[in-house]
Subunit: 207 residues, 2 copies
C-alpha cells in the first residue's frame, strides 16, 4: 500500500460540477492499494498518516505536531494509479487491487481512520469516480509512504522503524475488525486478483 | 531521486501574495533529490516524466499519450521532503541533498527538460521558498517514480524496464552536460553532504 501525503492549506474534490468534499488545513492523502495488501498494511498506514509530524507547534517549530495534535482534517482519496508498473513508458495497473475488492477495503481504512481520530475530520472522495482533486499543497510538503509488506523501500523501514511499529499504537478505539479483515482476506484468496482478467485492472483502467 | 507526478487540469505556484508560476493541462512534478543522486538519476527521471503515457489520445483511449505528445505543460517544483526517513513519527531529511548542492543540480534538471521538449512549456516554482502549490489533480492520476539508483522499488525496475532504459532515448537535443555533471559530482564528493552539519538538512529544515 502506498500513500502520497500532501500537507494542505485546503483541498476539495469535485465530480462534474458538484463539489463532493472539502477540507481546510490538514492532509490530502492519495491511497493506492495493491493486490497483496492486507489489514497489516492498512493499520500501518493509518497509524503513520495520523501520527506523522508534518506541522509546526504553537511556537512555529517545524515538524513537531501531527494532524491529530493540531485538530486538522484529512481528505483521503483512493488512487489506484500509485500501484503502477512501467512497461517502457506505458503504465500498467495489474498490481492494483481490483475495484470490487479495493472499495470495501478502502472503506474499512476510512472507518479505521475515523475511529482512531475524530470521524467528522476525515473526509473522502468518491470511489471510482472521475474527480478533480484540488490540492493546495502548503510548503510544499509531500511525503510518500509505503506499508511494510508493500514494495520495499529499505530507507523507510529501518531497524528502528520496525521496533517503533511494535511499540507504538494509534489511539484506536477498536473499530469493527470483521469487515476490514474480510476485504484483506478476499484479496489474498481471490485467484483472479492479479490475473488481469478484469478490464479494470488492465492499463485501460480509468481513474 | 523521487518524483511525484500528478496529471493536472491546471496548477499554480504562489509565494506570499504573488503567483510566480502557472500551467494549464499537463503534469505537476514534485522532485526530491537525495544526497546519492547523480546525473544518471536525473536523466532517467527527465526521460520518464516527458514520455510517460498518462493522457488519452484524440479518440479518448486512456494511457496513450505523453505530455510531449499532447503539447501539454510541466510544472516542476523541488520537494526535499520526499527524501524523508521516518524516525518513529518524526520526518528526518538528512537523505535530501543539501540546498546549496541541490539548487544547481535541480536547475540543470529543468534545463535538461527544456532542451528535451519545448522550453516555454516547462515551468518552475521558486527553489527554497515557502510556496502554496495549487494542484488540480485530474482523475486523480498520480504516479510515483524513483530513479534506478535511488531507493529500490523492485516493482518499478523489472528486467524489462532495465532493457527499456538501454533502448529508449528522449528527444534530447544534447543540453550542456558540464553544469549538470558538476552538480552531481559535487554531491558525490562533498564529505559533508550527508553529515547533517548544515541546519537545512536536519529535520528542522523548512519547506
Amino acid at each position: 500500500m502506498k500513500a502520497i501525503i500532501q500537507r494542505v492549506t485546503k483541498a476539495t474534490v469535485t465530480v462534474g460540477e458538484e463539489q463532493v468534499s472539502s477540507i481546510g488545513r490538514g492532509l490530502c492523502v492519495l491511497l493506492g492499494i495493491s493486490v497483496e495488501d492486507t489489514q497489516k498494511d492498512a493499520d500501518y498506514l493509518v497509524r503513520k498518516i495520523l501520527n506523522l509530524r508534518l506541522f509546526e507547534d504553537e511556537n512555529g517549530r517545524a515538524w513537531s505536531k501531527s494532524v491529530m495534535d493540531r485538530d486538522f482534517e484529512v481528505l483521503c482519496v483512493s488512487q489506484f494509479t500509485l500501484q503502477c508498473i512501467l512497461k517502457g513508458n506505458k503504465p500498467d495497473f495489474h498490481s492494483a487491487m481490483p475495484a470490487e475488492l479495493a472499495q470495501p477495503f478502502y472503506n474499512s481504512i476510512l472507518e479505521s481512520m475515523r475511529s482512531s481520530y475524530k470521524p467528522e475530520l476525515i473526509k473522502d472522495g468518491e470511489f471510482g469516480a472521475y474527480m478533480q482533486v484540488t490540492i493546495q499543497n502548503d510548503g510544499p510538503v509531500t511525503v510518500e509512504l509505503s506499508s511494510p509488506s508493500g514494495p520495499t523501500d529499505p530507507k523507510q523501514l529501518s531497524k528502528q522503524e520496525k521496533q517503533q511499529q511494535r511499540k507504538e499504537k494509534t489511539r484506536s478505539k477498536g473499530p469493527s475488525e470483521s469487515s476490514r479483515e474480510k476485504g484483506a482476506q478476499r484479496s489474498r484468496q481471490d485467484p483472479n486478483a492479479s490475473s488481469g482478467a478484469e478490464g479494470d485492472v488492465s492499463s485501460e483502467r480509468e481513474p
